[in-house]
Symmetry: C2
Subunit: 801 residues, 2 copies
């Protein structure tokens, strides 16, 4: 075993996680902050994914041994999986919509009928009780069975695609929890959406399909073994996420664009979803789906005849964008504060979590039922295209408490499912239907209910709440502007929704396409683009987008695609992990076991040293997971020689299981005799690791790391007479918190920061207070028990609860 | 000057381009095929672009010295430029449409009036003569004034964005030639499109705006100096290309997606274009634009009321996709053969070029005028929504030679502008309007006219011809299937257009969005997606997409984003450029001048050697362009020391001009005394070049090179006691032709090739026969006269003519 120590200074602020008195390590400089996720000042052992192609001799040989048929089989299975993803996702999406429409619909029909009979208190009681029951079920199920199912799921999927390995997010348990939870939570009239959970559900489905059955019961399909690696799994998740968006919004292209990477197979999956949904709608059109009708699959057709806008409609639209941007940033800001408070409450135990969810439910029910009483009844318009008031079904004119021939405009919005509310808001030629005061009340109610509903312990999406809020805001602005514009209020609602989406989520192009697909009005496109650009620009000047904020709160080490200016002032040597732990090409078993037990590193350089080579030569990089496979198989030699061992392994041995099920070094038992034997690491080392010279600027190294999607990057010296590898870079070495920790002065050099207009009350210092992960101190006290797997689970669930 | 020789074998098949007897070089292994573009077996000195951020001390210091205001100014200017691009592109696009509609419209009105008076021969003569005159003008102008304006321009823009520096493509002369040429060529009834040229025009506008005036007359705007580098220019070209697509198709989002990279500023530019076009349409609506009407801006509204499709419509759509894919591949195949014949004709001189263009024009005119006589006249339908026959304007029912109350269906398609033909084909509720035989004649005519019209010496796009051909094919299939489907013939035309676009161009997602934006029918989306996927898959099995084919014919070293399997079997050391020419950190002027004069390399490693360092250390990489700036400024020292020279340079000195205007080493005159002095290269060397270890597999190196968009990548040794850099990789080292040249056995190892179903008559061997670039032999005979600039121009124009 080689030990390399190449630091100059002796800084050791905290004890290292590896035991420093361990045989021949000579740790001169310790960088305790790397290779274990560092968020704030906390060590959070979230791992990274291996997207890199491991080019080792074994895999090359294995690939070479495959016939054309096996290669064809692999390509064929890729497409079949995408077809299956499309089919299953559309089925599940349809099932969820069917569930929500029927449960919520029945509730509203029963309540409305009681209202018709003027049994107002009974109606209120039934409404509140059913909401309460549904929320209780959703939160109990989430808290007790599948804590990872709470929340939107989009931050998790986004982090996964970024290369962060989060355990339990794609398990069957989470999937079931999310499906049942979202049906009951959305049916309970909470202001939450089903789009985010739908994306999470679809990604889970994709992963599980790729898994090809349960590993526990040995029911796996051999053809799918080749998909058991992070790279293929990422592609599946991409297809799944795209299919999820397609199913949630019937927006196939928007789904494909969501990740930025254009994957043909994702395109295929979304096309399958779109066609299947069309089939389901045909089926439901004949009335076989209960209260489902055809509207359950969100689609707001705002096509109006001869819609024309002029250049003088642009200024009000710009104004809408500016205010929308400010509102979006404010939304994110308040949401963050509320989530921090919820986090404190959730930390006290499951009872508190359930209590919080139920409180929000009762509060919501009271508001929904109570507020419409504030609005005055209005006479039905003569010659309306639909019945007024609408009874027993969705529509623009809710009767609520009004006399016959009258309707309650606020109830039409608030005492309704979110989908119907959006449909009412987006509807055209209804400019005189809603009062300004009703619209304002609705907007304020939605704004705060969205924020207070998101963080509860139940699946909950943000997309639909933001659309409802934005649409009511836009429609209100349209009412204020009145007749001086050629745009009707329905179009203002669409633009308002776009402005709040741009201000809160900032994912401009995909949101643009999604909104277009949702509203089926392409002529609106340029205005939507302008609104999104303006609101995104304004909001970006104020704070981070909502998903980044959520990921930061959850402590995911998300790697941005751009380098910050201060990174140009640093070289990779300034931040790289030290000391570097290396293996020799032919290594003693004892050394491997010791190193794996005493470090948490996941990649180790393999260096050939004399006498096996003339001088120390970098051979490659070996993964912890592969080392453990080698140790388990016990293909050891008594003497330090390299022999052909290919026939003793199959590629299945190296397959990586999903969802954090990893073999641990602690589970491997070796005799003393075996410990003294040798392993030839050459055939299993990635002989083409990506490397950077130590003088490379950190900014450029980050671009390399992020663009190629690496987990480990080796740092090599630029002078001779030194070891062939002098450090290793991982995701965590690029985290701003890590760099600021090493060089506190950088954090203060505002010169190199992006110019961001910061209001004093919007400070971001709050981030570093609540630790989502275990503290360094805690981890040190129990270095044996907190193995990576369990440690992550605990810390992760801590937040989710 | 250091000399590094690190090959083992002595292969020197051809004489090297650098003189081997030059002082202390010791060239042991010569790789003559790199650093100069290698296409087929020809040396083609097309250069690459520098997208990499040059992180040298000078630029860092320069950036540091800028105040916040200058940084803000830079960001502000970026957005202002995008606004300007949007405004100018929409103006130019409008002008082109206005020109085409009025010129072509006048021609058709005059001819139709003569037809009404039954002066058929006069009409034919006027029609043919005006077409001939317009084509003559377009081809003369292109051949004599701006040869780079010929063709579509999309391959050039695509190659530019890929990092290939093609001279003259973005000059004012090319811009004017393209604008005037496309107006006259499209007006002359040739079956060519204006979308491709529009993209080229818009990219030129973007580059010229970034240039900020003419350098020749010293009319440059200082604020724009920071944009004079390849990186910012690429972003401008991206915005320009997106704006061009938006202007051509009124498809803003499709434009943004075109390149794959999502750039907010491109989004902004396209939004500006969309809004401006809306303004122009408002203006024209009042009849101020002559024959322009509002239809000139292509937009085919195929929204039909209550459009519904069912699952059983999917099989015919799949069939459409399969046949479309085969047709698309056949289109590409025939186009390639025709272009090769045209190339031979064009090589004989300008007269032949003009003659060819005029022949195609006369042939086209005869077909357009003659074919409708084959079709029988049909009685006008009773109760049609528009006048029948339509006289003096565009419409579905052309009278042509028919009696009153009758129309000629083939004339409606063929004796019309392409835009009107597409509108007729896409129109719904006109299923009985066209005869099957007319449609078949039209399809066959379009298919071959598209192919024969593309290669003439005039600006010509492929997009609209492919849409027309595909739409007629789709409509014909729709007619054959008849009433067993719920889709009308207009929708079949849209799907047919999609299938041929997918089969020929294969750019699926952007085409999908463009078609949607063109047809304003989102419900059709899933079917369009399926058709595109099927046709792309089928066609990919047969041959390469049309743009790749064009780029290959033109000899552009386009770098694919994926690695071929055989690349995993090679290491970078196997293909890297050798011998490596290096500079010392402080280098003698004479050595620099000699090396620049005797090599064509554009990047040189800078190595610190004793006594300036303890051992040879890689400092960085310096560009030829920067060396020439240093030599021109003559900041030399009498002794080999490094002194601070920052104040003698400004960043403007290092600005890179557009369109191949580069200072040449031959133009710099130095005295003997100056030749003996020294330059300190350290402050001007990129201290963070991207590097790979020599054992890195070529596949992974390619991914790194392509993903980050590099021009030079240094190869470093993996053993000590060797020079710190042992090779350099450029774009040309990754070209399959180069690798096959070095390792001919690879070309035969079909095992590692993608399984491609190849028909014997579709062989690709034709590629390597006609040299688009000068031969190695030629180049060797005149090493002094063929400087990079002129050499490229010649070879490039050779093809274009």
């Amino acid at each position: 075993m080689s030990s390399l120590a190449n630091g100059e200074d002796e800084e050791s602020l905290v004890d290292p996680l590896l035991l420093s008195n361990h045989h021949d390590f000579s740790l001169r400089r310790r960088n305790t902050t790397s290779q274990l996720a560092l968020v704030g000042a906390n060590v959070c052992p979230i791992q990274s994914l291996d997207y890199e192609i491991i080019e080792n001799a074994f895999f090359k040989e294995d690939w070479r041994s495959r016939g054309k048929i096996q290669i064809f089989q692999y390509i064929f299975m890729k497409w079949v999986l995408c077809l299956l993803i499309g089919l299953v996702v559309s089925l599940v999406g349809f099932f969820i919509n069917l569930g929500v429409e029927n449960v919520a619909g029945t509730k509203f029909v029963i309540t409305s009928n009681m209202m018709l009979e003027k049994r107002y208190w009974t109606a209120f009681f039934v409404f509140t009780a059913s909401d309460f029951g549904l929320t209780l079920f959703a939160s109990l199920f989430t808290a007790l069975v599948s804590p990872a199912a709470a929340g939107s799921g989009i931050p998790e999927v986004k982090a996964y695609l970024n290369g962060v390995d989060l355990p339990n997010i794609f398990t069957p348990r989470t999937l079931i929890g999310k499906i049942l939870g979202i049906i009951s939570a959305v049916s309970s009239s909470l202001l939450i959406g089903k789009a985010g959970p739908m994306v999470h559900i679809s990604s889970s489905i994709a992963t599980l399909l790729g898994q090809g059955g349960s590993e526990k019961y040995h029911l796996t399909w051999k053809w799918l073994d080749v998909f058991k690696n992070d790279r293929d799994r990422r592609d599946l998740v991409t297809c799944g996420a795209a299919a999820g968006i397609a199913a949630a919004f019937r927006a196939p292209v928007g789904g494909v664009l969501w990740r930025g990477a254009l994957l043909w197979r994702a395109f295929f999956s979304t096309a399958v979803v779109a066609i299947m949904l069309r089939g389901f709608m045909d089926f439901c059109y004949s009335g076989k789906c209960g209260l489902f009708g055809t509207g359950g699959l969100i689609m707001f057709n705002v096509t109006s005849e001869n819609f024309v806008y002029h250049l003088d409609d642009v200024p009000p639209v710009l104004l809408l964008g500016v205010i929308g941007g400010i509102l979006g940033a404010l939304f994110n800001f308040i949401l963050k504060k509320v989530l921090r408070i919820y986090n404190l409450i959730h930390g006290k135990g499951i009872v508190y979590q359930i209590f919080l969810a139920c409180s929000v439910s009762i509060f919501t029910s009271c508001l929904l039922f109570g507020l419409p009483w504030l609005a005055s009844c209005q006479a039905c318009p003569s010659g309306a295209s639909e019945d007024c008031p609408t009874i027993g079904r969705s529509g623009n004119y809710k009767k609520f408490q009004c006399a016959p021939g009258h309707y309650n405009d606020l109830a039409s919005l608030i005492f309704n499912t979110n989908d119907d509310a959006i449909r009412n808001l987006f509807s055209h030629s209804t400019d005189s239907e809603f009062h300004g005061s009703s619209m304002l009340i609705f907007f304020v109610t939605c704004f705060f209910l969205s924020i207070f509903s998101y963080g509860i312990v139940a699946p909950s999406g943000l997309f639909v709440p933001v659309i409802v809020t934005g649409a009511s805001y836009g429609r209100y602005v349209g009412m204020l502007i009145g007749s001086s514009t050629s745009l009707n209020n329905g179009l203002f609602a669409v633009l308002g929704a776009a402005s709040l989406l741009g201000g809160s989520m900032r994912v401009t192009v995909s949101v643009c396409v999604m909104l277009l697909e949702l509203t089926n009005n392409l002529l609106l496109l340029p205005l939507v683009m302008v609104v999104l650009l303006v609101s995104k620009t304004v909001a970006d000047g104020l704070n981070a987008n909502v998903y980044d904020m959520l990921m930061m709160l959850k402590g995911f080490p998300y790697l941005e695609s751009h380098a910050e200016p201060y990174m140009r002032q640093l070289t990779v040597a300034d931040v790289a992990t030290r000391p570097l732990l290396c293996f020799q090409g032919i290594e003693k078993v004892r050394n491997i076991v010791d190193m794996l037990r005493n470090s948490r590193h996941n990649g180790f350089p393999v260096i050939d040293e004399p006498p096996h080579s003339e001088s120390p030569v970098l051979f490659g990089l070996i993964l912890r997971a592969h080392l453990i496979v080698l140790l388990k198989k016990k293909v050891f030699f008594r003497t330090p020689v390299g022999l052909d061992v290919f026939d003793q392994f199959s590629s299945v041995d190296f397959a990586k299981g999903a969802s954090g099920i990893r073999d641990k070094i602690e589970d491997i038992e070796l005799t003393d005799e075996e410990m003294e034997m040798y392993i030839d690491l050459h055939p299993f080392s990635n002989a083409s690791p990506y490397t950077v010279v130590e003088t490379m600027s950190l900014a450029k190294a980050l671009i390399l790391f992020r663009q190629i999607g690496l987990r480990h990057m080796l740092v090599i010296p630029n002078t001779p007479d030194r070891p062939p590898a002098v450090g290793i870079l991982t995701r965590h070495d690029f985290m701003p918190e890590h760099i600021y920790g090493l060089y506190p002065s950088l954090a203060n050099r505002a010169r190199w920061k992006r110019p961001r207009f910061r209001l004093p009350f919007l400070s971001e210092s709050a981030f570093r207070q609540t630790p989502p992960c275990t503290e360094i101190g805690q981890r040190k006290k129990q270095p044996k028990t907190s193995t990576p797997g369990t440690a992550i689970t605990t810390t992760f669930e801590e937040y989710e609860k």
